[in-house]
């Protein structure tokens, strides 16, 4: 008797599950999840197989080689790796703290009636196409940078610090690219950090205020630590954008593909810019294959940095031993 009842109730539960599509929904989401994974592998495979010729020819040393001469088939990835990493690093060091400050201002200090217009404006900045940032860089920022920053720096600090040494003739270079990238990713970081700060529960703020903390202490010891995992995530998104940015970087970095200069004012190249500028006129298979290998390198760089970022997020969000919040 009771056996029968249990069976029927199990049947009912089963029926309810299928009726509302729990199973179907499960399979559907699983399917799309697999599609994403397949895509990653497909891209990886294409880049891997496409670069086979160049890999066979140059081997592992390609990563540490300088030089770029398509006619003589003399290629090295080092300048592109250096340019990519350094310009992105400059971008993140500038835009990270600034973006957090903007977010703090918007969510904690800004008068209420300014908050929404300003936030909207920042999100608008994030939507401007990168070619426009590039153009602004070429026509507005570079002239200013050359006379206002680069030349004074080169003639003073640059005398003994090779990093800031001259000449700054054209103005285009790794530093400029980094700054333009910083401006580009600033709104991304600020917008994400603002959203993160907005969901910090008020009781955290009140906890600090109630012990007599100032507003600044409340932000520094209460709000920011509470949201550090999310903020690091936002910075990493910005970094990802800087690493992959093609157009703006290409327009302002100066396209020095074969060498690495000590000075940040000297021209350089990024991996993405290199591919974009050469692929249209690559007319032998080795050249093409080398560019695909550069793509593979870029793929690797983003992958490694993302893994490092994950570890970092994991590390900081753990906080003191035994934190339960992810």
């Amino acid at each position: 008797m009771s056996q029968k009842e249990e069976n029927s109730s199990f049947y009912e539960v089963w029926q309810r599950r299928t009726q509302h599509g729990d199973l179907l929904f499960g399979w559907l989401t699983l399917f799309f999840g697999l599609v994403v994974i397949t895509l990653v592998f497909a891209i990886g495979y294409v880049v891997w197989s496409g670069s086979a010729e160049a890999r066979d020819r140059f081997g592992f040393g390609f990563l540490f080689q300088t030089g770029w001469n398509p006619v003589k088939h003399n290629f090295g990835a080092m300048p592109a790796i250096y340019g990519t990493l350094v310009s992105s690093l400059i971008a993140v060091t500038l835009a990270g703290p600034l973006g957090i400050l903007i977010a703090v201002f918007l969510s904690e200090l800004c008068p209420l009636h300014l908050r929404n217009p300003l936030s909207f404006l920042i999100e608008l900045l994030a939507a401007i196409p990168s070619v426009i940032y590039g153009m602004w860089g070429v026509f507005v920022f570079i002239p200013f940078f050359k006379s206002g920053i680069a030349k004074p720096l080169a003639s003073t600090v640059g005398q003994w610090l090779p990093l800031f040494a001259g000449p700054v003739a054209a103005g285009r270079g790794v530093m400029v690219a980094g700054i333009i990238l910083a401006i580009m990713i600033l709104p991304t970081i600020a917008a994400i950090a603002r959203e993160i700060l907005a969901v910090v529960p008020n009781h955290q703020r009140e906890a600090l205020l109630a012990v007599g903390a100032t507003r600044w202490e409340m932000i520094w010891y209460g709000v920011l630590p509470y949201s550090r995992a999310g903020i690091v995530g936002g910075i990493m998104l910005g970094l990802g954008r800087a690493l992959g940015e093609t157009m703006a970087a290409l327009m302002v970095i100066g396209s020095a593909k074969s060498t690495i200069e000590n000075s940040l004012f000297a021209p350089g190249i990024t991996a993405a810019a290199l591919i974009a500028s050469e692929l249209p006129n690559a007319n032998d298979s080795l050249h093409e294959s080398t560019l695909i290998l550069i793509a593979l390198v870029l793929f690797g760089i983003t992958l490694i940095l993302n893994i490092l970022a994950r570890l970092l997020v994991w590390q900081v969000s753990r906080g003191p031993v035994g934190t339960i919040r992810a």
Binding site: E206, V211, G212, T214, V321, I324
Partner: protein, 286 residues
């Protein structure tokens, strides 16, 4: 002509009398630890408290009771100016702490909050270690000596009946504790810098009976040193722990909270003067 002068003189003298009445009331009130005088509170246009006058005695436990929405939290948070964060909130009237007007121009909210600590309804430890949760308030209050800080942390963790549970993991996160432990941590954090007044907004509402009992024992001990105001929905708790009780009720027409009755807890619970207090205490509404 003379008539007009007469009228004006009348108005003037009545103003004087009203003012000096107010002054007398104030002077009489200054002997209390905390004294609210004709205190109104507004959220934007909405008036949440109307003409609240209440005296709080030093080194005693005062319970604020009343149905939900009658303005208990609003009043409590007004005492340490927690509303300062809220741009639409506005206070009128006076609250005195040791005779000093809390909303006066010479009161610094940061110094005020060091004298008036607060324990919230939901436990809200900082994202710091258990030790630092308590030590932070001390550092804000200007304590420098590491050894003294460590001693004080241990002392208040004992006082909050938490020491035995956390002594082996002081460097673990405060967020890793259970809800009841977190609340006791928050109490320890609040009493560490030795405030004069402790405000507690339903400190035990999220806790099991045993933790509640522990907190009540802690409060009883703290009464020797501190002035405590506690908001509670539990009549038993109010009757158990408090010396004085104040009953607030929302005015049905204006929806503003008003003080109905205040006095020694025994009297409020055994012999309330107001019918509405009696109804509320006996559970007939609210």
């Amino acid at each position: 002509m003379t008539q007009e002068v007469q009228i004006q003189a009348n108005i003037f003298s009545s103003l004087i009398t009203r003012f000096s009445n107010y002054q007398n009331e104030a002077v009489g009130a200054l002997s209390n630890k905390i004294q609210a005088l004709h205190f109104d509170f507004y959220y934007g246009k909405f008036q949440a408290l109307n003409d609240l006058s209440l005296a709080i005695k030093e080194r005693s436990i005062t319970a604020l009771i009343g149905p939900s929405g009658c303005g208990k939290s609003t009043f409590l948070r007004a005492i340490n100016r927690m509303h300062d964060q809220n741009p639409t909130a506005r206070a009128a009237g006076r609250i005195f702490l040791d005779g000093q007007d809390i909303y006066g121009p010479f009161t610094d909210p940061l110094l005020l909050r060091r004298r008036v600590g607060m324990v919230f309804q939901r436990p809200n430890p900082f994202t710091l270690s258990i030790f630092d949760n308590v030590a932070y308030g001390l550092r804000v209050a200007g304590w420098k000596d590491k050894k003294r800080i460590a001693e004080r942390v241990e002392e208040v963790l004992h006082q909050a009946a938490l020491w035995n549970e956390v002594k082996d993991r002081l460097n673990h996160s405060g967020l890793g504790l259970s809800g009841g432990q977190q609340q006791r941590l928050c109490i320890a954090r609040t009493i560490a810098p030795k405030p004069e007044v402790i405000l507690m907004d339903e400190p035990a509402s999220a806790l099991d009976p045993i933790s509640t009992l522990k907190i009540e024992e802690t409060m009883f001990e703290l009464r020797q040193e501190f002035t405590i105001i506690i908001v509670t929905h539990s009549m038993q708790q109010a009757a158990r722990v408090s010396d004085e009780t104040a009953f607030l009720l929302m005015n049905a027409e204006t929806r503003a909270g008003e003080l109905i009755e205040a006095g020694p807890t025994d009297q409020i619970f055994t012999n309330p003067q107001d019918k509405r207090t009696e109804d509320y205490i006996s559970g007939r509404f609210g």
